[in-house]
Structure formats: C-alpha cells, structure tokens
C-alpha cells in the first residue's frame, strides 16, 4: 500500500540541501541533489543520531554533520569503512511538487 502525500515544492529545498518532515516516527530528511533528484531518509545518523538533513550533500551522498559518516541517499547505506544504514522512503517529483510515500510513517502503521 502506498500513500503519496504532497509535502511541498521542489524549490522549497535548496539545491544540494535538505528539509525535514516531522512524523510520529521521528524526522525524515528530504534531500534535493545538484541534479534535482529527491531522496527521503531518516534524519538520524546510525552512528550517533546526527541530523543528516544538516549535512553536506555531494553527488548522491550526504556527510553527517556530527562525525562525518557518509551515507548513500538512494540506499541509506553507510559508505567506506563505516557500517550502518538508515530507512529510505519512496519519494518522487510531480509537476514541481514533492510526493512522499507516507504509508510507513503514519501513526499506527508501524509493524
């Protein structure tokens, strides 16, 4: 089951930047890359919970602002020697609007 929700305009997010979406399951960081690709992942680094939305975005990766762990935006997996992963959420852009699949983020949807 999917539940596409309009969470804002693509231009609300700076290029190579991120904004957060607050949910009952914690914040989700929605990223916009230099190529206008959009990705959504948990806004908490698997290392020490750093706010990934504040990290520097490069290519399809983000570097956590607290201790520089690098995570892939598309897979949520840590790069290099680090281990760990964050949840990723389906997201797409339609007519300049960002649609996030909130099926797994709604209250009571936790398995």
């Amino acid at each position: 089951m999917t539940d596409w929700t309009d969470i804002g305009a693509l231009t609300d997010i700076p290029e190579r930047g991120a904004r957060v979406v607050k949910t009952h399951l914690g914040c989700v960081a929605v990223f916009r890359t230099a190529d206008d690709e959009v990705f959504a992942i948990d806004d908490a680094c698997p290392h020490k919970g750093g706010p990934l939305s504040e990290g520097i975005v490069h290519g399809r990766s983000v570097t956590c602002p607290l201790h520089n762990m690098v995570l892939r935006l598309d897979s949520g997996v840590a790069q290099g020697a680090d281990e760990g992963a964050v949840n990723t959420y389906p997201v797409r852009v339609e007519g300049g609007r960002i649609m996030l699949d909130t099926a797994r983020l709604r209250r009571g949807q936790v398995a």
Partner: protein, 814 residues
C-alpha cells in the same frame, strides 16, 4: 700487454673517461696525463660555491694525488705540451718526449676576451679556473672593493653573485636586453634581474662597453658607450668560451670551430681521440657538463675496442646562485606553429613557460619554482607526445592523470652526477653517500650535504633519493591531495584558482579535473572559502558548501540543538545587554547559560526553528552574532588595561574593541582568536592566541601563531609597533596573508610552520608596501563581509529554511 695512453688536459671530461677506463680495463693502459694547470681534475662547476665561500677547493677536488697514484697515472701537471708528432706517435712536452699508442686531446676551451681597448690591463680576468676564482676571492678581503662583470650569462652571474657574497660591490654589464638570453626569455630574465638586484648587485642590461680604463697598467674602470664610467678594482669578462684547438690544429688534425670528431670521438687520425669542450661533433660544440660525460663514456669504450656512439642530447641549465631558482631547457624562441603555456605568480616571483610545437614539448623556462625541471627536461629529450596532458602540463608530473611515471623510477634513473639541489649544487651521489654514511632523516641529509637546505624546492627530490637508498627504512612524506576528488593539493588548487581566474566552484571542478560531480564534504567547504577569499564581491558564498555551524550560524550540539553566542566586543558588556540575554534565555527555554573562555555568554540548547526569533530579539537589543562557530574571527580577549589596572600600560580594552570591530565577519582558513594584554603580565593570555598583543610602555608587541587547543603552542613575536593604528594595520595584513596563503582548516601556527616566520615578517613588517597592499585587500574584502548574519537570516525569505518542510504529526492529529 699494456699500451701507452697519453691524455692532454686533466679536466672533467677526461677525468670521467679515465674513471670508465680503469673500471672496464684495469691495468690495460699506461697513462700519462698532461695538464696546463698545475693541479689535477677538480669539479669546475663548483668554482662558484668556492667563490662564494660555500665550499673550499679541497672539497671540489675530484681526483687527488692518491687517486692518480692508485691508478699508476704519470702526472705531468703544469707542464706545457709543445707539439704532437703524429707520425712518430709521440707528444713533446717541456720536460721531454712521451710515446703513445693512443692519444686523447682534452684541451677544453679558452675564455673569450672581448678585444676592447684595455683588455690586457692587470686586473682584467676571465672566469675559468681556480686561479681566476682565487683572484676574485682575494678581492673580497679588501673593504670597499668594486668589481665589474661583463657578461650576464650563467658564468658571469655566478661570478657576480660569488663576489657579492665575499662582500664585493658588483656591477654586471650585459649587452643584451635581458640576462641569460640564451637560456631565459624576457620575463624570466626580468625576475632574475630583480632577484640579483635584491642581493645588492647592480645589473645594467642593454649596456655596451667601449673601453676598459686603466691607471699605471691596472684596471680602474669601464667606459660605456653612453659616456658613463663605472669604477672598479677588478673586471671579470665572462662572455663565452672558444674551443681550445691550438695544439690540435698545429699537429694537422681536422679542425673547425673545434677539433672534428666522429661518433666514436675519434679525430681525423685513428690513433687520436678528442673529447670535451675542445671538440666539434656534427657542427656542434659543447659547454655544459652532461654531454661531456656522455663523450667520456664513448671515448672509454672506443679505447677498449667496443663500439659506441655519442648522441648529443638536449641539455638543461640551472643557475647556481642561492635564492635564484631558474631552469631552462630546449628551444623557447617564439615561432610559427609554436604555442606557449605560461604560468605566473607575481607575488611569489614564480614564472613558468612551456613551448610546444605540435604535440611535443620543445622548451621550458622556469623561474622561482623549478621542482619539475627534470620532468620537463625528460619530456623534451624523449620527444614525448604531451597532447593528452596539455591542459595541466605546466603544473608538472604530480597533476597528470593516471600514473604516467613512477616518480621514484624517474629519480632512480638519474645518474649519480645529476644535480638534485640547485641552490647548493649537490648531486645525487653526494646525497646517496651521505645516506650510506648514516644519514637517515631529511635534516641529517641537510646538515651533511646542504641539499635542500637553501630554498627547499628540491626537498621532494631529496626525499625520493632517500626513499630509494633507504628502501622501507624511509617514508616519503608525500604531499597530501586535498581530498579523494582530486590529486591536487590545497596549495595547488589555491594557485590554480588565482592563476586561471577560476571564480566559481563549477569552474574549479571543471578546470582542475575533479573526479566527482560536485565534490565532497571535505573539498566543498575548502573551495567555498578559497573562492570567497580570492574573489571578494565576485564569488557568491554557497551555504550548501558550508559545515552546518556556518550555514546555521550557530554551533550544532550533540542532540541537534544549537548554541547562540552574541558578540561582546572586547569582552565588555552592559546591564541592558545582560537583561536582553536573560530574557532570551527565559523565552526560548535555553537549557544552559555558560560564560565562555572568550569572555562572552553562550546560550545552549536552542531549537533550530527558534533560531531566527532569538536572533531577532538579540538584534533588537543591539547585539550581533559572535560567530562562535566560524572559521573566522572569534573573540578578542582583553584585560582592563589603563582603565582600571594599576599595572596597565595602554588601553588594552579599547584596542581590543577596535580590533574586533575591524576584523569581525572575515572568513579565514581556520578560527582566529586574538587577545590584547595591557602589560607583560599578560592577563588576557595573548601568547597562546593566533594574534596576540602585549602592551608595553613604549607601544605594542605583536605576537602571532599561538594556539591552546589540541596543540599547545606559544606565539612568536612578529614585531613591535608604536601606535594603535599600526596594530590595526599590521593585524589586518597578517590576517590577510594568512587568508591568502594557508590551506583550509590550517590554523595560523601551522601555516607559520610551513611558510616560516621570516616570510611573514618580510611580507608584513619589513616590506611596508606589501603590508599596505595586504591591509587594503583585507579591508576591501571586509566591505562585503561585515554584515550581521543574524540580521540577514531573520528576514522572512530565510526563516522558512529553519522550519520543517511539512509536519505530518499535525495532520495525523486531526
């Protein structure tokens, strides 16, 4: 059976030939060695260091009496050869006749003396051998001695610099428009002239001599064609050499400009060989040592009956004058179908020019930074196709993609006599000997050989020689690339940004061949800083390339909240400011209120979405961001000075406030902390700050390069100044120099370690023009930087960025 070999001339070429011969055919020859000079073979190239006092004659002897004895060489030094009787196969010397089976003529060259009126006066000498060198050295003993050098070529300039080092007042007269015109183009010649003039040598280019003036049979001056007269006690003519063919010509050998030899170094007489500066091979004559050594090998092989062929190679030139690094190789005249690649860094006095013809490099001229000389020289010699690396060619081998050559392999391939250190004329074998003799560190090698001890540009090469010789015992400290996106170092990138006028991050990544599409978390903040620093007012600061603290203008804490620190100029606050801070702390439920080490107040635990509001409140109370998060000016710590303290010598608080007001807002490579102490008791702890001022009765002592973090480092004294205005000018200048030269994240003390305090003092203290220019550039940049980031970010357009994009918790609650 032992055969008789006579060698006429004990120079470097014949000496090298004998070494080969004794190695490959020990005992095969009974050698008689004639030499016009009353001594054996010494390293003529090292006469300049002898002249300047860096070396003694004993140190430059190649073959001493023991060596000749060990190889049973009959030395007839100082004996003139009268003639050669080729029919009888004998050489007739002043002291008797010697028969030969083979004869080697190595009579070298004669210095060319311009037949000016007066050229035969006493005190007019060439620069050719040890006697000339000693004459010049003797002059230095006399106070106020003056010398003229005619000839601004390699030899003339070495003579001039050497005599200057001995304390002689030297004027160089050069007929051409710029120095060393055969090796250098005009731009490099200009830099060289400046460098020599900075040493105190007078250089007159485009100057024609008319007459050498004498008194009582001795030189006393030189008359130029413009009518001016220059007085001197010694006149050195260094305008070139001519092959010495007198003896060969008299004996009927084929002679042109030099003694004709074939590829095997054999003259027109099969029993007679010739080599060195006296020969002419395929129309060419020789003046530099490298081809002469090749000839020596060929001649030795020919004598041993082995086939060998001499093939002249491109030769490169280096000037052995400490502090003047220049290198030239190949052909660099302008011409049809030729293209130039030029790199200039006027501030550092660096000039590099490559000349390409089609896909090949045919010439290279470098001044100031000659580290890549050997590599360019190799490309010229090998006629390599350089089209693939044309764009980055001028930056040398380090910047070429892939691994075209293992630098160690290139160094391994260098012969023992390859010069590694141009400043001190140290060749590879000297360094290898020192290492084999127990030198295991760079400083050992420096101490023992002086290699890389002068200008340091050859340090990398020396380290590579060490790596080769010591094997695993030595770890080369390779320059670290900026990040995995590029093989370039921070300094390379900074240089490229300036030299190629790269004004956007995209331009840098494109032009420097970044391997990633938009960099990484390491290089982006660095590039953003470099561009901001180098192109004030032109480059647009990129928030997304900043660490979160600088993007948010607050320090992120471990729980994702932020800390807010308003500026307190010089550590001074007021009851009103304190009330506003207290109100803000209450209103935004600040978790912790902390007094910082930088004499201000930190409000910890502010939520991101509250930041614009708390800033607006603090702004309203007249406070601005303390930039406690920035790679920029943090605080200027002060003591109370003459306002209150019974020991205070100056108004340290007032000065601290002035400094903070002048310097806030600027971005720097790493954080900058300052302090002003009102007396040498140093209560503001100025001696562990990046810039520290200690007030004294007579003025202000400026300290730089302290740190008290991971690394504890006391400051060094930069200078003492008299007024507050000077403090501000000097401080702006030193901060600007640091901004322009340091690598990103490099604290001031680290930068000072790299460039040296002397360099900083030279640019900021000694050279007033340089200081003013630096301060001007700083103030220009400040006109774009001194805007309170809080005030900007409380505007509506920014506020949204601090709020969530969407809040699904609200939606779900409905």
């Amino acid at each position: 059976m032992t055969r008789n070999l006579i060698v006429i001339g004990a120079g470097m070429a014949s000496g090298r030939m004998l070494e080969h011969l004794f190695e490959t055919q020990p005992g095969a020859w009974n050698v008689t060695l004639f030499n016009a000079e009353p001594r054996g073979n010494y390293n003529r190239l090292m006469l300049s260091p002898v002249l300047s006092g860096d070396k003694t004659y004993a140190e430059i002897v190649t073959h001493d009496a023991d060596w000749y004895k060990a190889h049973d060489v009959t030395c007839r030094f100082g004996e003139k050869v009268l003639r050669i009787d080729r029919d009888a196969q004998v050489v007739v010397g002043e002291n008797g006749v010697v028969p030969y089976d083979r004869l080697v003529i190595a009579t070298g060259s004669n210095p060319f003396m311009i037949p000016l009126p007066g050229h035969d006066l006493d005190g007019v000498i060439p620069y050719r051998d040890l006697d000339d060198t000693q004459t010049m050295m003797a002059l230095g003993v006399r106070p106020g001695a003056r010398a003229i050098v005619i000839g601004g070529g390699l030899l003339g300039l070495e003579a001039a610099a050497g005599m200057k080092a001995q304390g002689v007042d030297v004027t160089v007269i050069h007929v051409m428009g710029h120095l060393m015109e055969r090796q250098l183009d005009e731009a490099a010649g200009y830099l060289l002239k400046n460098a020599l003039e900075a040493k105190g040598i007078t250089v007159l280019t485009g100057a024609n001599s008319t007459e050498i003036l004498g008194r009582d049979g001795r030189v006393c001056g030189l008359l130029l064609d413009d009518g001016s007269e220059i007085a001197c006690d010694l006149l050195v003519m260094a305008v070139g050499i001519r092959p010495n063919v007198t003896l060969a010509k008299a004996s009927g050998l084929a002679v042109g400009r030099g003694i004709h030899v074939d590829n095997a170094m054999v003259t027109s007489d099969a029993h007679v060989l010739a080599l060195g500066e006296c020969v002419e091979h395929q129309g060419a004559v020789f003046g530099l040592v490298a081809p002469l050594y090749d000839q020596a090998k060929v001649a030795a092989d020919t004598l041993a009956g082995k086939p060998a062929t001499f093939a002249p190679k491109e030769v490169a030139t280096k000037l052995k004058v400490t502090g003047c690094n220049l290198f030239s190789a190949g052909d660099f005249a302008e011409g049809d179908g030729r293209e130039d690649i030029v790199f200039r860094d006027p501030a550092r006095g660096v000039y590099k020019r490559l000349v390409l013809e089609g896909p090949r490099l045919i010439g290279a001229v470098m001044y100031g930074d000659t580290a890549d000389g050997a590599w360019f020289h190799g490309l010229i010699k090998d006629h390599s196709d350089v089209s693939d690396m044309r764009d980055t060619l001028i930056f040398g081998p380090t910047f070429q993609g892939g691994a075209p050559s293992d630098p160690l392999a290139a160094v391994a391939a260098l012969p023992g006599d390859a010069e590694i250190c141009g400043c001190n004329g140290i060749c590879k074998s000297t360094i290898v000997d020192a290492i084999n003799g127990g030198a295991t560190t760079l400083s050992d090698v420096r101490a023992q050989t002086k290699a890389s001890a002068s200008c340091g540009t050859c340090t990398g090469l020396v380290e590579q020689v060490m790596a080769l010789t010591l094997g695993d015992g030595f770890e080369v400290q390779t320059v670290k690339p900026m990040c995995p996106c590029t093989p370039l170092t921070h300094m390379d990138v900074r240089r490229l940004i300036k030299s190629r006028a790269l004004k956007s991050m995209a331009a840098v990544m494109q032009e420097c061949g970044w391997t990633t599409s938009c960099g990484c978390a390491s290089c982006r903040p660095a590039l953003n800083y470099y561009l901001l620093c180098d192109w004030p007012g032109e480059y647009q600061d990129d928030d997304q390339s900043r660490f979160v603290n600088e993007r948010m203008h607050s320090n992120i804490q471990k729980d994702g909240t932020y800390s807010v620190v308003p500026r307190m100029w010089g550590g001074i606050t007021t009851p009103d400011e304190l009330r506003a801070i207290a109100d803000a702390a209450d209103k935004y439920a600040v978790q912790t209120v902390k007094v910082t080490g930088g004499q201000r107040i930190d409000l910890l635990g502010v939520k991101k979405q509250d930041l614009p509001d708390i800033w607006a409140d603090l702004n309203a109370a007249g406070m601005v961001s303390g930039q406690a998060y920035a790679k920029g000016l943090r605080t200027v710590k002060t003591c109370v000075g003459t306002d209150h303290c019974r020991f205070g010598t100056q108004d340290s608080t007032g000065l601290g406030i002035r400094m903070e007001k002048a310097l806030w807002g600027s971005w720097t490579p790493a954080k900058v902390k300052m302090a002003v102490s009102g007396c040498p008791r140093n209560c503001a702890e100025s001696t562990c700050k990046d810039v520290g001022v200690i007030c004294v009765d007579s003025g202000y002592v400026l300290h730089i390069g302290g740190a008290a973090g991971l690394h504890i480092q006391g400051t060094e004294v930069m200078c003492t100044v008299k007024t507050e205005d000077e403090v501000l000018e000097y401080t702006a200048a030193v901060v600007q120099l640091y901004r322009e030269e340091a690598a990103y994240l490099e604290r001031m003390y680290k930068w000072m370690d790299n460039v040296g305090l002397d360099h900083i003092v030279e640019r900021v203290v000694t050279d007033a023009d340089s200081r003013r220019a630096l301060a001007d550039r700083f103030h220009h940049a400040q006109t774009f930087m001194q805007q309170d980031p809080w005030a900007e970010r409380t505007k509506a357009s920014y506020r949204a960025l601090y709020a969530p994009l969407a809040d699904l918790t609200l939606e779900a609650a409905e």
